[in-house]
Amino acid sequence: ADITLKFGNNLPASHPLNIRANEAAERIARETDGRIKVDVFPNNQLGGDTDMLSQVRSGGIDIFNAGTLVIATLAPISAITGVGFAFANYDQVWSAVDGPLGNLIRAAFAKVGLHTFEKMWDNGFRQITTSNRAITGPADLARLKIRVPVSPMGIALFQALGASPTSLQFSEVYSALQTKVVDAQENPLAIVETAKLYEVQKFCSLTNHSWDGYHMVFNGRSWRNLPDNDKTIVSRAFNEAGLQQRADLRKLNETLRAQLTAKGLAFNETQPEGFQAKLREAGFYQEWQGRFGNEAWSVLEGTVGRLA
């Protein structure tokens, strides 16, 4: 191959994102007659999220699936798609991130030298698992010691809901849940399954409290160096694979619920209104409207309706 592109990600090889990324790599090799080879490195093989972000900026890797909160450390506007209880369903998500809100975010990435493919990939809505009680409404979250990935948005969300968010490295989460250093954690179902968190948790409350997805970002210099027709081939392969991955994940989430139930996790569904009211009362939406700015906020509300 004339050009080898490295794609680093943090997900297991069996995750739909890696399966579709490998298919995209094969398609790119085929359509460029082997001129472009994409090497996929799953499982944080090339580093943790923050380091892969710095690698994709410098060109150590070419492609990175940047989680919305990870890349928010570089372009804060990215966190806007993670606002608590903003999206009621996937239709709202995709119309926002494929549309004006996504364009706004991708423009911010371009400003820091990253090219971004138009289609985001899905990580899933985040759900809460606990070892001590099912979460049915905001009252159940009171003083709950819950592990949250460190991000201003995630922490503010759970503080506003009255919980006690705790920062822990992901590698420590399994043990911390087992020994009850913390009682709860929140992640999309696919992570609950792959990290085996169901082995140390009893309840899974489908709160859908925050949507999480991946921007496929590309090192700016290495993108500019691609010939135009190759750019088209690579873009098409990644964007179409992204759409397929969205469908995969949706199906996966349905089967996961049954699978995890069989493994002893007790599921319950929740309604968003109570949580939203609590957030409004705590001034959460107002605070974040201020942080993101009125323009971006009104683009968000244009899709999901009034929040603040």
């Binding site: 799953p42 410098s58 150590g60 920062s167 250093v181 792959t194 082995e199």
Partner: protein, 628 residues
């Protein structure tokens, strides 16, 4: 640091030149300032983590910023600790070959170890500056400050290491060896740079050229291990790939500030505290009264103690740091050879890899889909089997030990010693309980041990020498710097290997080995011993686990069984000289020259290997206790 013979021995001049005298004066000021800073950082780390535990456990008000602050300070601690280690010549290195060459060549190689290190620092410093600059655009998620506060530790530490290295050259008071070593270093680098265009087309063969050839040459020439890894990685990435070199700095950053490793300095400090407060003596006197009349008795205690504490801290080297200061002085007094102690300590590191809650098991579970709970259950007995293998070697080695002078203590004497030792013996149980009861995470638990030791030292044993504290803190920082800097460089090296994509080729090769189940297990053992050695343990699992576990399933090996086999193989590689990072960690912790352990470790490694073959041959040992 007496007896720490692993150090570089460029001695201060006997008849100092004028320049040497000036260098000594500057070094004293600069070195003093850096040492004071590192001592403060160790103390602050203890406080930050301690406050974090109290806030979460006692007040149910977790501090979301304490981990991030601890991690930023940890990078500073490790980098500045590496400066102290360089200044004192305490970066681990192999001097077995260097000490056998003629005196003139030896003098040259002694200086070359330093000039080669300086050469690397000169090459990397501009990229470290660029890296820190790039990181200033990142806002840290918890404290919401510029990430330059963290990243600046890298160029700062490197610049200070350069200064310390330069001052050492000047302090050496010799002339020709210094000039020759500088010229030699420059020529070698020039030669590699000129050879670049020839090397590049070699493709994956370069992995052998750099990660076997260059690493081995440097290691055996006596260049510190960390710098041997770093030079090979820098050479490989800069000459044969288009990787921007700030990526290497990023890998150092991530490898050195991993929060789990924070247990290393804290357990080193805890070990020193146990010794200073007299708790170690109380413990050892009691154990000696029980087992003193058994040949090799304290070696059995060492194996047992590692089995018990392993998995508490999440870091093997940290586990060792709590044990070595307690047992080693007494064992040496009884005539044990330091090399044998180092060898046994390192071997127990490999032996205890599968004891839960091991980070290795959690990693395997996460990257391969095997149940972590099943791995936790499955790991207990295999570790016992390998422990028994080590016991046999100990029994054999100490079977002729002369214990005739030792009087066997009477029961009342033992009881009295037990009472005195009780508060000290309680410490490991307090620590274990704090983890099991969820008071603290693996990383934080050392602060509870430290708090307990301070209280016990002040109130129970009434021995607490405040004047020794600064020295203990600096010592901790220097050791931490030496150990963590090796890990950082190994992390960068692992990245270089990984990005080449060699794992796919190797996995295909391994799947093609004939002999069905047994052939596959055999080739896995050989491969993971080598991979564990060059990839610093866990990266080997992350890289090869997902590739190998499906093949294992195909040839009919139970996943939990296979996990145990590859973890031990990886562990043997990790704790075996001459490349295993774990071996140098054990040497640093026990303050014993890595050369001394060489003669003794092969017996233990052979025992571990035989134990491993047994675990591989009898699946029941790994899966006999699983539920389904």
């Amino acid at each position: 640091m007496a007896g720490h013979a692993a150090s570089l021995t460029v001695e201060a001049s006997k008849a100092p030149l004028g320049i040497a005298r000036v260098a000594v004066a500057i070094d004293r000021v600069l070195g003093g300032a850096v040492e004071a800073a590192t001592a403060a950082l160790v103390a602050i780390e203890v406080i930050v983590l301690g406050v974090g535990v109290v806030a979460r456990y006692c007040f149910h008000a977790p501090l979301v910023w304490s981990d991030e602050l601890a991690s930023i300070l940890f990078l500073w601690l490790s980098m500045l600790g590496a400066v102290v280690a360089l200044r004192r010549g305490e970066h681990m290195r192999m001097t077995g070959l260097v000490s056998r060459v003629p005196p003139r060549l030896r003098a040259l190689l002694e200086v070359f170890a330093l000039t080669a290190s300086i050469g690397f620092l000169l090459l990397i410093l501009p990229h470290a500056l660029e890296y820190a600059q790039e990181e200033s655009f990142i806002v840290t998620p918890a404290l919401e400050i510029s990430n330059a506060w963290r990243a600046a530790a890298l160029p700062t530490g490197m610049a200070l290491m350069l200064a310390a290295g330069g001052l050492r050259l000047m302090r050496s008071g010799t002339f020709w060896p210094v000039v020759l070593a500088i010229v030699l270093t420059a020529l070698l680098m020039l030669a590699f740079w000129l050879a670049g265009p020839v090397l590049k087309p070699l493709g994956k063969l370069n992995l052998l050229v750099f990660f076997v050839g260059v690493v081995a040459t440097n290691v055996f020439a006596g260049v510190p291990i960390a710098f041997s890894f770093a030079l090979a990685t820098f050479g490989y990435l800069s000459l044969t790939t288009s990787t921007p070199m700030l990526v290497m700095v990023g890998r150092l950053d991530e490898g050195m500030s991993h929060l789990i490793l924070l247990a290393v300095p804290l357990f080193i400090f805890l070990g020193a505290l146990i010794e200073m407060t007299g708790m170690a003596r109380a413990m050892i006197q009691f154990l000696a009264s029980l087992l003193g009349h058994v040949r090799g008795g304290l070696s059995y205690v060492l194996i047992g103690a590692m089995y018990l504490v392993s998995g508490i801290s999440g870091s093997k080297i940290a586990d060792m740091a709590a044990i070595a200061p307690v047992l080693f002085p007494e064992m040496k007094k009884r005539g044990a050879k330091p090399g044998d102690l180092l060898a046994l300590l390192s071997a127990t590191g490999a032996q205890t890899e599968t004891i839960p809650p091991s980070i290795v098991l959690i990693t395997i579970g996460s990257v391969t889909g095997v149940s972590i709970a099943a791995l936790f259950t499955g790991g207990m007995l295999p570790a016992l089997v390998l422990g028994a293998a080590l016991w046999i070697v100990v029994w054999w080695r100490y079977r002729g030990e002369d214990l005739s002078q030792l009087a066997r203590p009477t029961a009342p004497e033992i009881l009295k010693l037990a009472l005195v030792a009780a508060p000290a013996i309680a410490l490991p149980f307090v620590i274990r309980a704090a983890v099991v009861e969820g008071v603290a995470t693996a990383t934080e638990v050392s602060t509870i041990g430290i708090a307990y030791s301070v209280v016990a030292g002040l109130l129970i044993y009434r021995r607490f020498d405040w004047r020794r504290l600064p020295h203990m803190l600096v010592e901790t920082a220097s050791l931490t710097g030496a150990i963590i800097f090796i890990i950082g460089c190994a992390t960068a090296m692992a990245w270089g290997l990984t990005q080449s994509g060699f794992s796919q080729d190797l996995a295909k090769l391994m799947a093609g080995v004939p002999g069905g189940t047994w052939g596959f297990l055999g080739v896995s053992i050989v491969a993971f011993i080598i991979l564990g050695s060059v990839l610093e343990g866990i990266p080997a699992i992350v890289l090869f686990g997902p590739l190998m576990f499906p093949i294992a399933k195909q040839v009919g090996v139970h996943e939990v069984h296979y996990a145990m086999v590859v973890i031990f193989a990886m562990g043997i590689g990790l704790f075996a000289p001459p490349f295993g990072v774990g071996y140098y960690g054990a040497a640093a912790i026990s303050k014993i020259n890595p050369d001394e352990g060489l003669k003794f470790i092969w017996g233990y490694l052979l025992a571990l290997l035989l134990g491993l073959l047994l675990v591989a041959a009898v699946p029941w040992i790994s899966i006999g206790f699983l539920n389904s």
